[in-house]
Each structure stands twice: as C-alpha cells, then as structure tokens.
C-alpha cells in the first residue's frame, strides 16, 4: 500500500500546528486579556471555520491563492511557484481551517488563569513578557496540549477545503483523507479500510488522551 499520503498528512498537520502555535498564542492571549472593542468580532471570525462548509472556505482560499489572486499573485512573483495545487497552499488553508481548534483552547486556558498570577509576577519583578512565558504559559499547559492535539487531529481529517485548493497531486497534495476518497472512487475498498481505520484509531487515541488529562485537572489551573 502507498503510504505517501500518510506522510503528507503528518507533515501538513505538524507544520500547520507549529504555525498556529506561533500565530495563535498571541491571538489567544489578546482575546483572553485584551480590552479592545474589536475583541468580540475577532472572536467570531476565529470561530467561523467551525460553522462554514469547508467548500466555502476552500472556494475563497482558491480565489485568494490563485496565481491572479491577491495572495497567490505576489507569492508567484516572489517565489516563482503557485500557491494553488502546492503544499504551501495547503498549509495556509489548513492554518485557517484549524484556527479555532488551536486558538479557542488557548484562549480559554489564559482566561481561566486570569490576571492574578500575572500581577503576582509583576510584584516579584517580572516584566510582561517574562510573566507570560514563565507563569501564564506553564499554567496554561493543558490548554496547549489540547490545542496541539485538536489542531493536529483536525488538520489530519481535513478534506473539502484542501481538495479545492490543492487538488489531489500524488506526493504533493494528496493527503490521507483525499486518498481515502480516491480509493473509494476506484473501488479499492481494502486500501480505503486501512487508511480509514488508521485515522479512526488515531483520532480516538488523541481525544482519549485529552479527556484523560483534563479529567485529572488540579484546582487553580483552568483549561
């Protein structure tokens, strides 16, 4: 059996989660602690991928990332490559698609910590960044685990949006979910079974890990 789609999916999920941690952590912090009047609107935008049909997201991404599009055009000019039907395009799409799965657990974890530990840190001489890194992040540890696991698992299961942006190029954009679809189309049920069972088991184990972890929460450390 061809395992290339599995590697592509794992790579895509890893890169997506890494990008989301870098971009999503400050965003989640701002959503949890900020006092801006834009906060509610941004919260709603972050939650959009939860309710939008993946094809809608995929459609808009296709327009944005196309060689004539507002993002795809400059990208083509700078790198000489197109974003559509490429791994890079998949990453951009997945980052948006999995955004709420990473940002929301982090936001709730930061909110659960509240301002008090940070005030305490300031009273002990820690500046804001120092307090964020040494107090808020460790206290939000479970939130990070949840965000990483959910973001990873959700990206692995992505189908509609990346099919529209990336198509199904073997070795480039054909992920596990798309490979399953293709196997079914070609009536190769054995291969479809193997990949589907793999995704099913992985997703179950990931969720079991989160729920087990959260079941043992300590008082004072919110998720």
């Amino acid at each position: 059996m061809n395992l290339t789609p599995v590697w592509i999916s794992l790579q895509l999920a890893s890169v997506t989660v890494a990008v989301l941690l870098v971009l999503g952590t400050p965003l989640a912090w701002w959503l949890a602690m900020g006092r801006s009047r834009w906060r509610v609107a941004v919260d709603a935008v972050v939650a959009l991928p939860l309710v939008l049909p993946p094809t809608v997201l995929g459609f808009y991404m296709l327009i944005l990332l196309a060689p004539q599009g507002p993002v795809g055009g400059p990208w083509l000019a700078v790198t000489g490559e197109t974003l559509t039907f490429s791994f890079a395009g998949l990453v951009i799409t997945s980052v948006l698609y999995s955004l709420p799965f990473v940002v929301q657990p982090l936001r709730d974890a930061f909110r659960g910590i509240g301002p008090r530990p940070l005030e305490t840190a300031a009273m002990l001489g820690a500046n804001r960044l120092d307090a964020f890194l040494t107090v808020a992040c460790p206290l939000a540890g479970r939130g990070f685990v949840t965000a990483i696991v959910l973001g990873f698992a959700h990206t692995l299961g992505e189908f509609g949006a990346i099919l529209m942006v990336g198509g199904s190029l073997p070795g480039e954009t054909r992920t596990v979910a798309i490979a399953i679809y293709e196997h079914v189309e070609t009536l190769d049920y054995a291969a479809a079974h193997a990949l589907s069972a793999g995704l099913l088991v992985f997703s179950f184990v990931a969720l079991l890990a989160i729920y087990t972890l959260n079941g043992r929460r300590r008082p004072g450390v919110g998720l």
Binding site: R116, P117, E119, A121, M123, L124, A126, R128, D130
Partner: protein
Amino acid sequence: MTASPLEFDLTLERPGFRLRAADRLESGITALFGPSGCGKTTLLRCLAGLEPACQGRIRHGDQHWQGPEGRLPPHRRAVGLVFQDTRLFPHLSARENLDFAERRRRGDGPGRAEVIDGLGLRALLDQSPAALSGGESQRVALGRALLAGPRILLLDEPLSGLDAARQSEIMPLLRAIPERFGVRLLVVTHACHEVLSLANRMILMQAGQLITQAPVSELFSAPDYWPFLGLTEPAVLWPGRVVARDNDWGLTTLATDAGRLRVSGISAGSGAPVMLRVSARDVVLSLEPPMATSMLNSLPVRVETLETEREGVVRVRLAVGHRAALWTHVTRQSVAALRLEPGRRLHALIRPEVLGVNH
C-alpha cells in the same frame, strides 16, 4: 540600605466609590486600618501600580513612580505586595517560588539563607503550594516577597484566615522585618489588636477617604478617633522600654512618658520596646498617696477635664507628668467627695495591660 520615604497623593474613581489618599511613609510598620470595603486594598494596589485608573503622584525618594512625567510599570517599582490569598504559583514548589523572586530581585535585599531561616521555611522548601497550610503559605509568600528585594512591602491582611496560634507565630516575624531586612511595611488590617501589637504608626481610612495618620499610641489615646477604632472604653497607649527586671518577683520595670511602671509577664531584656494600654476602668483615684494596696503602680496626676459620660458618671481626663494622659470614670458622688475640678492634684492607681513586646 537607606530608607527613602514613600510619598503619595492619589485618587481613584469608580462607580459608587472614590478613593482619596495622601501620606508620607517613613520607616517602621504602618497599619492601614478601616472597615471592610473602605479602600484599603485598593490603595495598596494603587501604590503597587496595579490600578491603571489611579490618578495622582507617587514618589519614592527621588524616583517618580507615578505623576505627570508618566508611570513606572509595577515590576520596576521597589515594592512588594503580599496578597491576602498569598497567590503562590501553583506550578512551582515553595523553593521555586522563592527562586522566581530571587532571580528577579531589584536591588540589594535580604539574603536567601537569612529569609529562609528567619521565616522558618527550610522544612517547606520541597512542598508544593497545594500541600501548605494557610500559615505556611503566608510565610512562603512573605519570604518570596522579601527575596524580590523591595524597599517597601505592602501586606494585605497577612493575619486574616489564620488561627490565633498561627497569628502569634507570624506576628513576631512581621515585627522584625523593618529592622532585620531594612524594609518598611504597610499592613492592611481591620483588627485593632493587630494594629496595637504590630504597628508604630497608623493610617485611618473610611469610605475611600484617608481620615488621619499618626503614631498608634497617639491615635488610640484620642477620643475623636475612638468611634473609628470601634473602642467603647476610653484608654491610652503608652510606649515604653524595659529598664530593669526583678527575677525574684517576675516583675519588669518599664520607663514610659508617664514614669516608671512595674508589670508582670514580660521576659524581654533591657531596652526592649513594650506597648502598654491603660483603660479607664483600670484607673482608681486616691487623694492620699496610696500606702497599702494590691495595685503595683501609682502615679501623681492632675485633673484636666471633666465631662458627663452618662447619668451619674463623669469621664475624667488626667495629666500624668508632662506628656502623658489618662482617662478614668468616676461617679458624680466621687467628684463631689474628692472635690474633683481642673487643676486638682491627686494620685492614680493603675493597672496597665501589656499589649506587645518587640523582641
């Protein structure tokens, strides 16, 4: 480790609440006293820089913490704040909580060993905060705050939530901080006995307003402030010092503004400061120098004022020596029998109560 004064003049407006306070904190321990909700904690938070809405000026020596020039962020002020709920970091052990503060200390301050031994923390170091009792958490939080090297330590009700035994364990540790570590304390409390046994100076607050600030003995002796302090029995406070000890009888002689007094129940050595309270009910007047009574202390006094306290009872203010005063109640009949009037000289038998000894 010179102690620069902390001067402030602050206002904070919130719906239904207005804080207005100005004072200058010198050395020693200042009690911030007032009923719950009068703004004591808010004032501490303003001084620490944790209330962005706070307006006004704060100056520590020649460093501006807040004013028209701008604001120094909380972590750069030489201030420590021990919160009422201690707020030890739950993800760190007691030792790591101390490390956190020590790594970020803002100048010279007490050494690690000094703090650990002084507060009795050695046995607690490897514990997680969740495993510590209330008193132990308070001690660790206090040590953590000291290790951060503050010049001023703000304590928010450090004794609340502790039973009497724990209170008497922490009280001497707090009292020793100014001299031992060169740090001045501002302690929020709403318990009179904490003020009396802890502070040398106090700030009185009510409904967001700073009503007055004065040495503790002065405030507790002034009838105008008795309602604020919740005192019903007139009393005076006399600070004193141990001058001699009579081991045969277990008595200690103290020098006070009122003269020399002998009391029992003090083991402190020569020179130790002691706070005495003399309530009106513990003062008896006599025309002649008393010869044979069971009261140890008698002092020559002069009547200053007489005022009717209630039906048939008169409150008398007496001058003792040049600077001290005393209150007593007498019946109207005694006023007549002793011919009490301003200027009249007689003798007072008193039974002073020992409030606190600084070791």
